[in-house]
Symmetry: C2
Subunit: 220 residues, 2 copies
């Protein structure tokens, strides 16, 4: 399992990402859309990754990561999320600014460095968006979490993550002073458009659209 190119790493990462929601095999087009590359190019690359035993690939039938490929991809996610923690916790970046930098940092080789970084950061288990950080074996802590939208009137919960990590969304949450750890009670759900009215710990009351509520993870 030598070194892969940045390009190859990006393919593995996007296949892992797609696998998480889509339990069946992943199609060429899906990958192409995910990383913004033509389907033809993806098709080429899949052959190469299959030669390297990183994916199982059968022409016209889609792909799946091998154990090796999955391990490699999870390590990339680990690196990405640890660097994100570093950028927010140590360099004071806000959660909407760290993605692109981490996207570069994750390709720096050196597992020893990452293990030391993890320790330096105090062995964090979640990144600034609430996503879990795999350990150096690829294990991921699973939390019971649900989407805010699934809560009913009267339920209490705490915000533990975001599904959408787009800068605009994160900046919006900042602007209404909502962050990970914010506690609240659902005090109303509008039948018409499924907006939700929350009462926050600090006393503020807030109305959030269905779309916003569909992109926030909570825990009770």
């Amino acid at each position: 399992m030598g070194h892969l190119s940045i390009t190859e790493e990006n393919y593995l990462k996007s296949i892992l990402k797609l696998s998480e929601h889509n339990h069946t095999k992943i199609g060429t087009n899906e990958i192409a859309y995910e990383i913004n590359i033509s389907a033809a190019s993806v098709s080429d690359m899949l052959k190469k990754l299959a030669d390297k035993k990183l994916i199982i690939y059968q022409k016209y039938y889609g792909v799946k990561l091998t154990k090796t490929g999955e391990q490699y991809a999870k390590n990339l996610v680990r690196k990405h999320r640890l660097w994100e923690v570093f950028l927010t916790q140590k360099l004071q970046f806000s959660w909407d600014e760290v993605h692109d930098l981490a996207e570069q940092l994750e390709h720096v080789k050196g597992d020893d460095m990452i293990n030391r970084l993890e320790k330096f950061l105090g062995n964090p288990k979640f990144d600034p968006h609430g996503d879990p950080i795999p350990d150096n074996k690829g294990n991921i802590v699973v939390r019971k979490q649900q989407l805010l939208i699934e809560l009913k009137k009267g339920e209490k919960a705490v915000i533990i993550g975001v599904k959408d990590t787009a800068a605009t969304f994160l900046q919006f949450l900042d602007s209404i002073k909502i962050s990970l750890g914010t506690k609240f009670t659902v005090i109303g759900v509008v039948i018409y458009d499924h907006s939700m009215q929350l009462k926050l710990q600090d006393g503020r009351e807030l109305m959030l659209s269905q779309q916003v509520c569909s992109n926030i993870y909570v825990s009770s």
Copy 2:
């Protein structure tokens, strides 16, 4: 001044490095040797860098960095050295381990990140090998420094840097417990082979070969 590829950055860096010792124009072969690439490839690349106004290049006459090119190259050095400080100071790497990692980290784009990193590290002025860190304008602190080999019997000085940063050399220094900041007096110079005998601050006496003394910077 958009983004350059890692390859282009490496050329600029090696041209800057060669410029420091060699005040005249730099030859194609020198660069080729420095970055371990054929002279033909270097010749190709020099044309591209000249098109981008990063170097002054005249066929058969060698190259020189433009102001823009020099700025860019110094920024790479800045990034390299700040990451080295991070790796030693925060992640507890030793000075012989940080070069290859910094070689990768220096190519991560994001000047804002580097400025924040600098501040996070406490605005260090020198890297773990004693080399100066350029500020974000490219200015470099100059110290009066000389090589240990130039000292005479009876002179007192302090070690402030190393000229050779090869891992084997650095590990040797570690093994004899010499590091930046070590204070000493020259108590003897062997005529025959120019070995030098030092008495360290802690009372130890030490004999160092001419080669070792030629690769240590000191200040009095």
